[in-house]
């Protein structure tokens, strides 16, 4: 089981950062390389820019602790858990943490590699929103 984590300090209020990520259907707007997705209840299917379809199950969307958790349910994965936490550090100051735990290990690395660009994009959108 491999567990990886990337994080980003964002000059925006935690509520603004949370607003970027909280809706499951918004993922193509902030995750580079996810071209589209469909959402039905707790089921989400993403399609990557490389044409790969990955079914997912949304586990948690918690506006109180600003946590979004999901798992990839593709049979390629024996296990996957993705967690995005937005932590308020102060007014206009947040930490966004994107964790990936998965088995087989190389697949964790592939997803976690993509989350780096996602954090870039979340930061860009949130900071632009904060600036008005």
């Amino acid at each position: 089981m491999a567990s990886l984590r990337h994080e980003r300090r964002i000059a925006a209020d935690a509520d603004i950062v949370w607003e970027v990520i909280r809706r499951p259907e918004s993922i193509p707007t902030w995750f580079p390389g996810i071209a589209s997705c469909t959402v039905e209840g707790a089921k989400r299917v993403i399609t990557t820019a490389a044409g790969i379809e990955m079914p997912e199950e949304i586990l948690t969307i918690d506006p109180l602790i600003h946590r979004f958790a999901y798992r990839i349910t593709s049979p390629l994965y024996r296990f996957h858990l993705g967690v995005i936490d937005v932590i308020a550090l102060g007014p206009s100051d947040s930490l966004c943490v994107y964790s990936t735990t998965a088995e087989p290990d190389p697949l964790a690395l592939l997803i976690a590699g993509g989350t780096v660009g996602a954090l870039d994009e979340i930061q860009k959108i949130a900071e632009a929103t904060a600036k008005g």
């Binding site: 580079p32 390389g33 490389a50 290990d105 190389p106 590699g113 780096v116």
Partner: protein, 524 residues
């Protein structure tokens, strides 16, 4: 019109696989002939013993700790400096045909241009350049990619899928269903990454790379200079050359390498004399890096498996030599022969049974670190054939290409152009080279620095998962060319160790700007 440059690389090829370097398994008359006409380097070191950092050093003329692609899976920044950009500015037509690997192959989100070009059907794309301009991808007008087998979304895989789908199943699957480097055995001996491949030779990637290079050369204007990086994916594993060719080197006739002790106790005692991760990997207690099969235990390697791997490796080397011969003949037929500099090397080596090991990793010994390097300057310059014994590094390639093109080396280039003789090497202080290793994957980090001189190979292990910073290796290359006796703690070598440690400190403290280390995006 100036001098054209044919830069030929292979992948994971040891120094001693060429006839001119003492190799006995492969016949390499073409490369041996280039060496006879030009400069052969007796001790060329990579900046890293894995593909991506090493190839990035060829392109940038920088060490991994400078260019930032510090391990496999970390992409070279798109706006990193590139010698191809400088040559492009100088009016050169620029091409890279074969294996690039500046960006990860595993790319489910389609983030990297190298993996998109074949699908896009474009020869190149525009990107940011180091100097703030935009231009062709890393300075190349034309890119056509291949890698090991038919993996990924690259041009060779697309070509095979579209034209010869029936042959794809003949290749060994480099990774398994979990995307780990495949441990499955094949051939006659069950050796990992070995398979009898019924692909016709004409369809194999070695010939494809040569064919595509010739096709690109055919389209060049004779009055324009060009820089062509022809990059063969072989003899890197998998060892699955066309079955029609494997009779060239019958594995049962292959002698075991001088550095393969047949008795397990001897292998184990040699490994125990090295830093602790050597034995841990051999025993299957540690997987420190992605580049060897995670589910394969080196202690299970048999003498016959070593023979078979080395035989197939030799076949792949012969096919490369013949492919190079075809490309050189094409250049001669165009009347360019006198004006082309040919440089041949590899990105890193391969254990091939040394110390009972295969593949590669954070193990800095000659099997992985001593490379073939041949520079046949354009015949119009009337080159003086020579053999350079001084240590040189692949970090010098970028400056060498620029020198050939009559361009000054820019400030970002860390390596001086290659010496043409030992006198030249002495005059320009080519007396040591450094190889770096940094990896951090799946909870294991390893950090290694080595310096090589004519007399010594010295390695320090920085603190990491397996090392506390106190371990090292020191080999006397004169008395112990197989690097079996670790003199790191030998009082008789205390002065040598201090001098070599100082060289590593100088390397760490060298002036110049460092790129921010890149982020690990994929296993490879």
């Amino acid at each position: 019109m100036g001098r054209k440059i044919l830069f030929i690389t292979t992948d994971q090829q040891r120094y001693d696989t060429l006839g001119v370097n003492g190799g006995v398994l492969s016949r390499t008359p073409v490369l041996d002939g280039l060496a006879a006409q030009g400069i052969r380097y007796e001790r060329c070191q990579p900046t890293s013993v894995v593909c991506m950092p090493s190839r990035a050093s060829m392109l940038t003329g920088q060490f991994p700790s400078t260019h930032g692609a510090w391990m496999n899976g970390v992409p070279l920044a798109i706006d990193a400096p590139s010698v191809a950009e400088d040559l492009h500015d100088a009016g050169y037509a620029t091409a890279l045909i074969g294996k690039a690997h500046f960006e990860p192959f595993m790319d489910p989100f389609g983030l990297f241009a190298e993996n998109a070009l074949a699908s896009l059907g474009l020869p190149t794309v525009e990107q940011d350049w180091f100097d703030g301009r935009r231009g062709v991808h890393r300075g190349f007008d034309h890119l056509e990619f291949a890698t090991h087998g038919v993996m990924g979304a690259l041009h060779y895989a697309k070509w095979m899928t579209e034209l010869h789908p029936e042959a794809i199943g003949g290749f060994y699957p480099v990774v398994d269903g979990e995307l780990n480097v495949n441990a499955a055995g094949g051939g006659d001996t069950g050796a990992p990454q070995v398979k009898f491949n019924n692909v016709p030779r004409d369809w194999y990637h070695t010939d494809w790379v040569a064919d595509r290079t010739i096709e690109w050369l055919d389209r060049q204007d004779g009055d324009r200079d060009w820089f062509c990086w022809m990059s063969f994916p072989d003899p890197h594993h998998p060892w699955d050359p066309p079955r029609s060719e494997i009779g060239r080197v019958p594995w049962r006739d292959v002698e075991l390498p001088a550095n393969y002790p047949q008795r397990a106790s001897e292998r184990e005692s040699l490994l125990d004399a090295k830093a602790r991760h050597w034995r841990a990997w051999y025993d299957g207690r540690l997987v420190s890096n992605y580049e060897a099969p995670a589910k394969w235990v080196p202690a299970t390697l048999t003498p016959d498996q070593v023979r078979e791997v080395n035989a197939l490796n030799a076949v792949e080397v012969e096919l490369i030599d013949e492919a190079v011969g075809r490309v050189l003949a094409s250049i001669e037929a165009k009347g360019w022969g006198d004006d082309v500099d040919v440089i041949f090397t590899s990105d890193h080596g391969e254990f091939q049974g040394d110390f009972g090991l295969l593949f590669k990793g954070p193990y800095h010994v000659d099997g992985l670190m001593r490379l073939p390097l041949i520079w046949r300057p354009a015949r119009s310059t009337r080159p003086e054939p020579s053999v350079v014994h001084a240590p040189v590094s692949l970090v010098s390639l970028a400056a060498t290409f620029l020198e050939v093109a009559g361009r000054p080396a820019p400030a970002w280039v860390e390596g001086a152009s290659l010496p043409r003789s030992d006198d030249d090497a002495r005059a320009r202080s080519f007396d040591s080279t450094v190889t770096e290793w940094d990896s951090a994957i799946f909870g294991v980090d390893v950090h290694v620095r080595s310096v090589v001189t004519r007399e010594h190979l010295y390695t320090e292990y920085r603190p990491g998962t397996m090392h506390d910073g106190s371990e090292g290796e020191l080999y006397d290359l004169v008395d112990d060319p197989l690097q079996r006796i670790n003199r790191f703690d030998d009082p008789a070598y205390a002065n040598a160790r201090a001098t070599l440690a100082e060289r590593l400190r100088s390397h760490e403290e060298r002036p110049g700007e460092r790129a921010t280390p890149g982020t690990l995006m994929a296993p490879v």
